[in-house]
């Protein structure tokens, strides 16, 4: 299984380590080399310093044909953007964008992106901890609900030939 991860923060580094240790082919991208210090020195995947919202970069790191694409930078819009590129331009099937703003997370889920919202996860976990009933919608990754409103009405990935 091949995974491309954008953003080597704590979450990005953590998931990259887990997947790579399980024997998956992992490429993690961040605009700062220092971010890669979060990886173990013997990290078995690839770490590439580049801008993960640039189409050329995503092509170079092998997004096309990847099984998983996780956009996990600090910026909600950057994540949404990288995820749109992965899904639309490169046709990756399993794409998840981390969107910390719950309103935007909801909006992008309706627009056809799978999202994970840290705010909602934590609010729910703490509310449960305080004995309140849980919010089932806050658990894990929210699968895309809506579909992109394509002009052609279809869903095949953009045909990009260069």
């Amino acid at each position: 299984m091949r995974a491309v991860i954008i953003g080597c923060g704590r979450v990005g580094a953590g998931v990259a380590e887990r997947l790579a240790r399980e024997g998956h082919d992992v490429t993690i991208v961040d605009i700062s080399t220092e971010a890669f210090n979060r990886l173990e020195p013997d990290f078995p995947g690839q770490a590439i310093r580049a801008d993960g919202t640039d189409e050329d970069v995503l092509r170079r790191v092998g997004t096309e044909g990847a099984d998983y694409f996780f956009a996990l930078t600090e910026g909600d819009n950057r994540n949404a953007f990288a995820a749109e590129l992965a899904a639309e331009t490169f046709g990756v099937k399993n794409v998840v964008a981390k969107i910390n703003d719950p309103v935007r997370a909801e909006a992008f889920t309706m627009l056809g992106l799978s999202t994970i919202c840290r705010t909602r996860l934590m609010v729910d976990a703490l509310a449960r901890c305080a004995g309140l009933p849980g919010d089932p919608g806050a658990m894990g990754v929210r699968e895309a609900e809506g579909h992109h409103d394509h002009h052609d009405g279809g869903s095949p990935a953009l045909q990009v030939e260069r």
Partner: protein
Amino acid sequence: MYIVVVGGGKVGYYLAKELLDAGHELVILEKNGARARQIADELGSIVLNRDGCEGKHLAEAGANRASIVAAVTGDDEDNLVVCQMAKHHFDVPRTIARVNNPQNEELFRHLGVDEIISPTRMVLSSIEQDIPVHELLHIAQLKSGEFDLVEAQISDGSPAVGRKPTDIALPEGSSLFLLLRGNNVQPIRADTVFQVGDKVLAVSRAGEEGQRSLRRELIGETEQIGDAALTR
């Protein structure tokens, strides 16, 4: 007309100024407080010091009654998010985005942004106009990118030399309409005969296929010369 402008940088500022002068009603969303105050000092209370990427701020700005939302920040990802929110959440009839990386244009168009403004592309075309290349020169986009306005230089070896427009097999959707010869500009008529040195303005359907055959008819098989040289 009510217009929401997101991003109060240079582009947003001058855009707002022109639109106000033209008598339109508008609001600018600018997330930087100091910049927002600065614009308010210049243009009056038409500025909301808010991040336009957030749905509730767009709602506050009255996006649901806007005829146009123009996202002109310096960040492509922010501009895309704004337009998507505007289009799909507030049913704004027309969304306009500034795109800095020309490669992102296709994605923006695909995701429903109605109009794309690419400063990079504009500067690029101006530079290309000064470089003599045996290619179709891209001048402008028409109908939101459905058609391209292009210029072709007729040089020695072009199959069009000595021929009339009616002798040229034009691809579907394209037409030749203006001839630049010497210091004159003239419409292309049925009896125009093309000469070496002519420049022809043509409209062509966007995309590789149509433009390739247009290039073949007007400029010639430049690519094949390269291929032949390689195989030797």
